[in-house]
């Protein structure tokens, strides 16, 4: 087993069992190494932010855990056990839920239909229980966006933020243990964003582990416990939020250098 608990992983965690570990994940598209030997981990009740520039490989790395695009090599461990995740169904059986950056909704189907897509509720006779699905959807959506009422219209006629709420509702309804949120607030207004931040705090308190991909450095510092920085497919490093400054993280993202490698000149250049 490769040592994933390198110096950048906060020491206090070393004793506990991680909820989820990605070890030495590699994914290539043709000659492009989208994810190149990346290892990250996640503890229960923890938010790990994945940050990096556009095309750094954040989404692709998470796709391996989600089963959306299996890794070419590397291992996935959940609760101390190695698991194989070939497709999204495998991921779900391990309690992994995903809010995809591209939302992955079926446009002509309504909110409830999308929330329950692939795991529809049925009545005793085996037919779809649309009522139960609608009321459950209403309940989750109320946590996210109390003004959301268009439950019965095709999601393609919803606003970007409403669509994002549907995607979030789908991920949180099914009692995930590991939640992947790929830029979950990109399309949301300030009120809805605040709801999602509140939701993240609640989910954390319930012991759910969250990988949060975000470009908003303030969100990252407000919500995350640790920050894993990727650049050009590689992991620059994982740092404890409390041990670094925003500028140091920006330096990691932009220069691809860890805090201990960063010089005051680097920081000065970034902030000038």
């Amino acid at each position: 087993m490769t040592d994933t608990t390198d110096a950048t992983v906060p020491a206090g965690r070393a004793g506990d069992q991680p909820l989820c570990e990605l070890r030495n994940i590699r994914i290539s598209f043709g000659g492009l190494h989208a994810v190149d030997d990346v290892s990250v981990n996640l503890y229960p009740g923890e938010v790990v932010a994945l940050v990096g520039g556009n095309g750094a490989g954040k989404s692709t790395l998470m796709h391996a855990l989600a089963g959306a695009h299996p890794a070419d090599s590397g291992e996935i461990w959940i609760n101390g056990q190695p698991v194989t995740i070939h497709n999204p169904r495998d991921a779900r059986t391990h309690g992994v839920e995903v809010i995809y950056q591209k939302l992955a909704l079926a446009d002509n189907i309504d909110a409830a239909g999308n929330v329950f897509l692939g795991r529809e509720l049925r009545t005793k006779t085996g037919s779809l229980d649309d009522e139960a699905m609608a009321s459950a959807t209403q309940k989750v959506l109320a946590r996210l966006n109390p003004r959301f009422k268009n439950l019965k219209t095709a999601v393609k006629s919803l606003s970007g933020g409403q669509r994002q709420s549907v995607a979030i509702a789908r991920a949180v309804h099914f009692n995930a243990r590991i939640l992947i949120m790929d830029e979950p607030t990109a399309a949301l207004g300030p009120a809805e964003t605040a709801q999602v931040r509140e939701l993240i705090t609640q989910l954390k308190a319930e012991g759910i582990g969250i990988f949060l991909i975000s470009h908003d450095i303030h969100d990252v510092f407000d919500l995350a416990d640790r920050i894993s920085v990727m650049a050009q497919g590689q992991l620059v490093g994982t740092v404890d939020k409390n041990a670094v400054t925003k500028d140091e993280v920006l330096a990691m993202i932009i220069l691809g250098k860890r805090p201990e490698e960063t010089t005051p000149d680097d920081i000065a250049e970034l902030t000038s």
Binding site: N108, I109, L128, T153, L158, R170
Partner: protein
């Protein structure tokens, strides 16, 4: 229900209109017509059918409106109608099936010959016809979902293969309804049996078609399988990420369609009252016409099975109405062609309603 066919309450309408914002430039009436048609995909074909019926009733010499004409039209629509159920399911998955007619032809030849030439009991011959058609459909489905070939190419290929198989197998010999009845195989042409309601004469086959529509309307809108058919055609990637086994759904769609073509073969046998490779020649394109006029999107994921039945009826009503008005076959074909293009244009226009 989840598929976009049911009215939401009025507040939703207002919110969407407000959200969209761009609707205001257009006339309010036009845009609300557009959005109503969008909500009920079967409404536009229903209106077209109604309009055609009214026009032909009042313009003609009275023959069109007679019940026996209606009965004849229903009988004429039966074969295309049943086959178009399979086509609709496949089109909903964003596929297309060009091998429909030949699968039905093969299955009706197979049933008749097993019973007549091989001495199979008619019930077994019938079931064997269903099984053969299901296998053909499954072959199409396997090529589409496992080998990942485009449905158009797959079914163009199997169209030729199944035609050839039918010809080779039947040696181009026909078996008449009388032969079947005379040999105690009346079951195979039972679907052609007339049922009269006064001067309205339909067949058991017509009733079967109606029942099949009801069954598949239920299955498509009230079962998980039906919802997955829509989802796969809507956005296959999104469906896969939602944990749907897209390949299995596609495979099952083609297999189920195959079974429907097998039943279609039975209805064809009763309707034609003979088993012949010459039957149901134009069925492929006729089913696509019915699907398109019925408002199902060829891009998949949107449409209603009842629309297809209306589409099939519209074609028959136009044909009959124009023919009774003395319009010759060539001009009728022209009219149907125009109708198809208008239907697709309207569909595009309706889809813009909520973009």
């Amino acid at each position: 229900m989840a598929v976009d066919v049911v009215a939401a309450d009025d507040t939703d309408d207002q919110e969407i209109a407000a959200d969209a914002g761009q609707e205001q430039g257009r006339g309010n009436l036009v845009s609300s017509i557009q959005s109503v048609l969008h909500r009920y995909p079967a409404l536009s074909p229903a209106l077209v059918l109604l309009a055609a019926y009214v026009v032909f009733t009042f313009l003609g010499d009275g023959r069109f409106a007679r019940l026996d004409t209606t009965g004849r039209m229903l009988q004429q629509t039966a074969v295309v109608g049943v086959l178009a159920i399979g086509q609709t399911i496949i089109v909903l998955t964003a596929g297309i099936d060009l091998s429909i007619g030949v699968i039905a032809i093969f299955s009706h030849l197979f049933m008749a010959r097993l019973a007549m030439n091989n001495g199979w009991p008619s019930i077994l011959a019938l079931l064997a016809g269903f099984v053969a058609a299901t296998l053909f459909g499954t072959l199409n489905g396997a090529l589409v979902s496992k080998v990942k070939l485009p449905p158009f190419i797959v079914t163009l290929g199997t169209l030729n293969i199944f035609v050839a198989l039918g010809l080779i197998y039947s040696q181009a010999r026909e078996i008449s309804g009388d032969d079947l009845r005379g040999s105690g195989n009346g079951l195979l042409v039972w679907t052609g049996k007339t049922i009269s309601f006064g001067s309205l004469r339909i067949t058991t086959g017509v009733l079967m078609v109606v029942v099949l529509y009801a069954v598949f309307a239920y299955v498509l809108s009230n079962t998980a399988w039906g919802r997955h058919i829509y989802a796969v055609g809507d956005d296959a990637d999104a469906a896969a990420l939602a944990g749907i086994d897209v390949n299995r759904v596609k495979l099952s769609a083609y297999a189920v369609a195959g079974l429907i073509y097998g039943i279609g073969g039975w209805i064809l046998l009763g309707r034609a009252d003979t088993a012949s490779t010459n039957n149901a020649g134009g069925a492929n394109l006729d089913t696509i016409t019915a699907v398109v006029i019925g408002g199902t999107s060829l891009f998949g994921g949107r449409g209603l099975i009842w629309g297809t039945l209306l589409g099939a009826l519209i074609v028959t009503v136009y044909n009959t109405g124009l023919s009774l008005a003395g319009v010759n076959q060539d001009y009728r074909t022209l009219a149907i062609g125009i109708l198809v293009i208008v239907a697709v244009a309207i569909d595009q226009w309706i889809r813009k309603a909520r973009k």
